[in-house]
Amino acid sequence: MLFNEPSPLEVKVLTRRFQYPDSARIDTFLAHQGYQAFQKALAMTPDDIIQEVKVSALRGRGGAGFPAGLKWGFVPRNSPKPKYVVVNADEGEPGTCKDRVLMVNDPHQLLEGMLIAARAVGATVGYIYIRGEYRHVIDIMDRAIAEAYARGYLGRNILGSGMDFDAYTHTGAGSYECGEESALLESLEGKRGNPRIRPPFPAVSGAFQCPTVLNNVETFCSVPEIILNGGAAFAALGTPKNGGTRLFALSGHINKPGVYELPMGFNLLRLIHEVGGGIPNGKRLKAVIPGGSSCPVLKAGECDLPMDFDSLAAAGSMLGSAAVIVMDEDTCMVTAALRLMRFYAHESCGWCVPCREGTHWLKKLVGRLHAGRGLSGDADLIEEVSRNMLGRTFCPLGDAAAMPMISLVTKFREEFEAKIGSAADAGPGSDQLVVL
């Protein structure tokens, strides 16, 4: 099932099997190298597997970009506790819709990545935590799991190797916060999705307080390729320290929105104009949010850069989940900011004060300004509130609201200033904070 026409510029690694009929079925998977990487991994030592993943320069695809091999290496091998593999399939970052595509079209690739991770750290059980709205995805993953059991790729003594591994899907029930790894683990255990204080990190104390490898869907889906063709070949697909390809989700004001697999480091302007077919109606590019709604916005003039973690960081933004949200010249940045702040205020779990209060104050301040009832100094106040949230929360949700907000109010200051007091009836007493 394809959602958009592929682009000739794509480099299909994780998506290479999508072209086949019934790509989600195990027979198709097996006919096209499926589970061969896992069989190769069974003949490797756990250290060699982890070393291969380190060489690949695979970095976490959920958003943080942490080196996957390093993360796996933190799992204490000689712990007497059971070990777990947990897949973050809670995909909730606005703009992001790639994990869904991976699971719907090639669910066995994800299972194979989990199996290799399990082999590397000695895990015997895996959970795929899938957001509740993705019920059709859960059904597809459940069917794939059943197929894998039937063919002996899951269960006891897999392929005669002596390895045991069980896999389960686990549904979420509507919460952006549960995409944060420690909140996800709380939710997996049947609780409110409040984040945990770290350390200890999940590698040491994760699911059920046991050592856990926790990665995003796309990260696990990259692993079979790394084992099959080598970490060095995977690393060579991308840029230094940014191995492999990425699934870029193009959305917003773009002629050919869609999910495209391209090498890490692909130029953002080429992504918009050559892959995405440019901006509709001959409009000019105004701004891009390059990696999901939590990433600082880039102005049009800042977009001539390679899409990898380090280049985006150097440009003051983030690659994040690689969700590229394109905005044309007519976009009102105050409206965009208000919608995003409404989102973060709604999704803040309330566990810590800077985020719980900060997101709501930002929503109210931007809301007042948007309604034309802002006071002079509101733009400064919005920036100050945001800066006071940065780095002061248990989990990154506070930063996720503050970072785009700071970028919007500083880079598009004049739009915010122009809204101040613009309402026809603005005057004394009109500045009360409207609750939206």
């Binding site: 709205e133 999910v259 965009a336």
Partner: protein, 166 residues
């Protein structure tokens, strides 16, 4: 209380999916799957699931209040979840939301008097590259326009009438 045999089978599997002594992990899936069958998490459903997992009512209630998909009041038979987050905002999601509200005469979180429809303005549903998008219960509808939304609502209306006649 009893659930359908299909749901009981699901529950049985859930109770063996987690480590011994950690069956509470099944709580959120059990609540959501039960709600799918019963329409909402009534006091009877909540107390049944609490007792099966050995949890207090408070422990279950605090979980229900956290998750936006879990609800204690039933919504319409066709729950229109209309995304207005950033990618849908840029591609006409707000107009879809406002149009649906006008057409059905209800606002977000409300149910039509006949119980057929409800509307929720929702956060990102992971359909950004096929925006604007909405969900009707668990079904995705991509690349929506006002005209397509009208046809969708009308087809659901007709479907409901057939259902009512039967």
């Amino acid at each position: 209380m009893t659930f359908s045999p299909q749901l009981e089978t699901k529950f049985e599997k859930l109770l063996t999916s987690y480590p011994e002594g950690r069956q509470r992990a099944a709580l959120i899936p059990m609540l959501l799957f039960a709600q799918d069958e019963t329409g909402s998490l009534s006091p009877e459903v909540v107390s049944e699931i609490a007792s099966r997992l050995g949890l207090t009512l408070l422990e279950v209630e605090e979980v229900i209040s956290y998750y936006s998909m879990l609800r204690k009041q039933p919504l319409g038979r066709h729950n229109l979840q209309i995304c207005t987050n950033i990618s849908c905002l840029l591609t006409g999601g707000v107009a879809l939301f406002e149009h649906a509200c006008r057409k059905l005469g209800i606002g977000s979180g409300e149910v039509t008097p006949d119980g057929r429809f409800s509307i929720e303005e929702v956060e990102c549903i992971g359909a950004c590259s096929w925006a604007p998008a909405i969900m009707v219960n668990y079904d995705y509808h991509h690349h929506l326009t006002i005209e397509k939304l009208d046809r969708l609502i009308e087809s659901l209306q007709e479907g409901s009438q057939d259902h009512a006649v039967q």
